[in-house]
Amino acid sequence: MDLVHLLLPHLLNGVALGLLFALIALGFMLIIGVMEVINLAHGSLFALGAYFALSLMTPDGGLRLGIAQVLFDLPVGWRYVIVLLVAPVGVAIVGMGLEMCLRRTYGKDPLYGLLLTFGAALVLEELIRLAWGPTERFIPIPSAITGGIAIGDLIYSKYRFFASGFAILMIGLLWLFLEKTPYGALIKAGAHDSEMVRALGVNLTRLRLFVFGFGTALAAIAGIIMAPIWGIRPHVGVDAVVPAFVIIVLGGVGSFWGAVIAGLLVGMVVGLTGAFATDWSLISMYILLILVVTFRARGLLGKKSILEN
């Protein structure tokens, strides 16, 4: 019983973290799948989502439009809902702009796409610093999801429950979207063989634009949910994008459930080491990655993919 008490909060923290990591990684993976691009700017777009949320939630977030005052007069709960809908769309638009730049690198060495997004990450981070300043910021959240919740004699943060629940909801919706709708079928087909999809008469340019926007919107959602847990800093993106790499390789490129399982694994390993061996928490996920990949070259559930050539 004592062991449970000792471990449970950290495991729950790990699960919340892992689910959000999985959400970031899934958006990242959609982009790898359809565009064969490692989007190094994914972390910066994650951060941008949080900053957009900041601007929409508080008057001192930098937004000085008259119309915004209407928003700030709303109760904080409604504002939060609006933010969760609007901020990802804003980030998706930025992401689509990035995809338009990326177009020139398609069909060349995949390294160029990676480098372009590296440049974009630098630019976005500097722009964030310019617009919102270099200091750490926090966004207000509705009182309904603040404070603690008692389960038996254990008190646990309500917000983390909300974060886990929301991430599960998003992952579930994403799965339904990919598996049960014709658009999802197109995306999966695009990830399998985009040239063939084009040959079958699908507008590949539009598909790519959409998938990039969609993937970055997922990063933005994760950014908004993560903001109260991590705080918002201009360089917070690195903390998000690196676990996403690890999760993709660990779970296997192209595997939906692989990413979810790997996300949970990484989250729990980071959560537990964070509690009991703080110094190790930052490198534990790399050790996990190296251990797994040494024995399973394509990750937990990965199949052979085009990216290996």
Partner: protein
Amino acid sequence: MTVDQLRSWITPPMLVSFAIFGTLPFWIREVGLYPYLGVEVLIFCIYALGYNVLLGYGGLPSFGHGAYFGIGAYAFGIAQLNVVSNLWLCLLAGILAAMLFGAVVALFISHRRGIYFALMTIAFGQMAFFIASKWTSVTKGEDGLLNIARLPVDFGFVSYPIQRNGDFYWFVFACFVVTVIVLWRVVHSPFGKVVQAIKQNEARTAFLGYNVVLYKGLVFALSCAVAGFAGALFAMAQGGAFVQVMNLQWSGVVVLMVLIGGGFVSFWGPVLGVVLYFIARDLLGAYTETWQLWFGLLFMLVVMYKPEGLAGIWQGIVHRKQRPRTSATVHLLAMLKAR
């Protein structure tokens, strides 16, 4: 040694670069810059040239190369402060430490390709970074390993002090010359040709009977050794070893320098890229706090419109001068001649 043999060791662009960097202390103040900039540029040239053997010639992207640069710096400092204060032995310690760590990493990654290779280098690079920042008893963590001296250049019978930036510059210049000649020979050796073949088509190179995993591992370890060498020099330049150079962003910066200069199309690309980076840092940095924004935008434009980088632009200009006819007319003339 005949002229031809000499040419395979020393090429005209090499002489140009030696002439420019060899005279740099005499004119750098005149153009409004300072000698220490020359030291930084040369050290990063060594680092970037070594990195380009891996990226430009081997086609193997490493996004964690800062780790080996940092390991070189720490190994140099630790050897100097705890073991022996001899320049050559300490430099050797820096090179060997980076090379050994690189070789161990190569065991895990050299059978991987493309994006998997890149992602694994990030994982190992981040691991090294976090270990260096947390292992405070050895690396002094965030404070950095301080009091690393610029040891005298001791040839046994004669010894030169290099504490002053002006003297230190000449030592770094000598290191640059040696690195350039060695790496030029490596990429034009049979070993270098196999590495380039792996870049073009790994499977076919393997079918020809080459052990591609071994070659990839060797070229990785080589470029790590050069990074360690540059790191050791950087520790001397800064008078300390700091963990920042090992983080993901600094690892990315070397890739950025190599690519913006045109490492894919030229041996000299990395040098051009390093010079551009440092000049941009100093010139743009003088006008605006956010010079990284402008440099990032410039970099994006280069990748989009001229992915061959500065060296590619240069080659485009030279080729246009050499061949005024378009290739279509050349073909036409050849056809007419054949009749």
